[in-house]
Symmetry: C2
Subunit: 139 residues, 2 copies
Amino acid sequence: MTMKNNPHINKALDVLKKSPLKLTTQRTRLIEILFKNGDQHFTAEDVYKEVNKYRYKISLATIYNCLNQFTKHEILKSVRLSGDKVYFDTNTERHHHFFCKSTEKLSDIKSSDVKISNLPKIPRGKKLESVEVVVNITD
Amino acid sequence: MTMKNNPHINKALDVLKKSPLKLTTQRTRLIEILFKNGDQHFTAEDVYKEVNKYRYKISLATIYNCLNQFTKHEILKSVRLSGDKVYFDTNTERHHHFFCKSTEKLSDIKSSDVKISNLPKIPRGKKLESVEVVVNITD
DNA sequence: TCTTAAATTAGAATAATTCTAATTTAATCT
DNA sequence: AGATTAAATTAGAATTATTCTAATTTAAGA
């Protein structure tokens, strides 16, 4: 009964297959769950709870391992911000975030929706890696 | 031999005196050390190491307590970003940061040095709290 | 000086994450 | 298909930053 031909799932699975990572049951299962509904944001604990609603159980260690490997191979993007937990994002494009301090939920801001100008020069000898904009909001 | 009349120290001490916080030996000592050189960024652990170079020791619990109280009373600002630790900043004005992933050091970007335009509208029912820009750099 | 709420402290507790070491498994090689 | 092996999974221990607890001390006002 699992929805076949979900384009988000297929795209993520393709990236996994092209990576040097092994195509394990756990990884496939995780991708099916995480990418089922397009762009989503979640913590390792969120994933652990969600996954284990089903009869196929995955250990927390594996969830951490997979999320980190997926991030390394650009199947996911990690977002670290105020608060103690790391968030993972199914959107791997360059973009920014709203972060609601009340609900602790993230939502995307398209990169093209924010214009940053006048950025001062990068300190001597350093090189630019990324620009992250977080718009903190509350209820 | 401690430098009297350091304006950064005096300013911070004044804010402390105007706050409901008690003027304890530890708090005075911390302010003298943290504000000695103007704008600085540090973690609780940094402060613990720095403080305990001197003969007057302050416990780690007190350092956490003080840094948090100082933040609540706007003597310091806290900055949370990629990485696991909270940074504290002697600059309490609205501003942004460079974060060097190699050295794990922060440096300030004046608010006026970044122009953000075109920010999408805040989701329904939410209100804006702050906009944080972090420019990640590397060696 | 007396009082008392707030501050300090050592050490225990917590929470997110990573590590360890044993077991299992996917993918490759006959 | 069966054997091989490096990678993956796992439970549980370890780690790290931070907060909590509960006992003691102290600042500041009466």
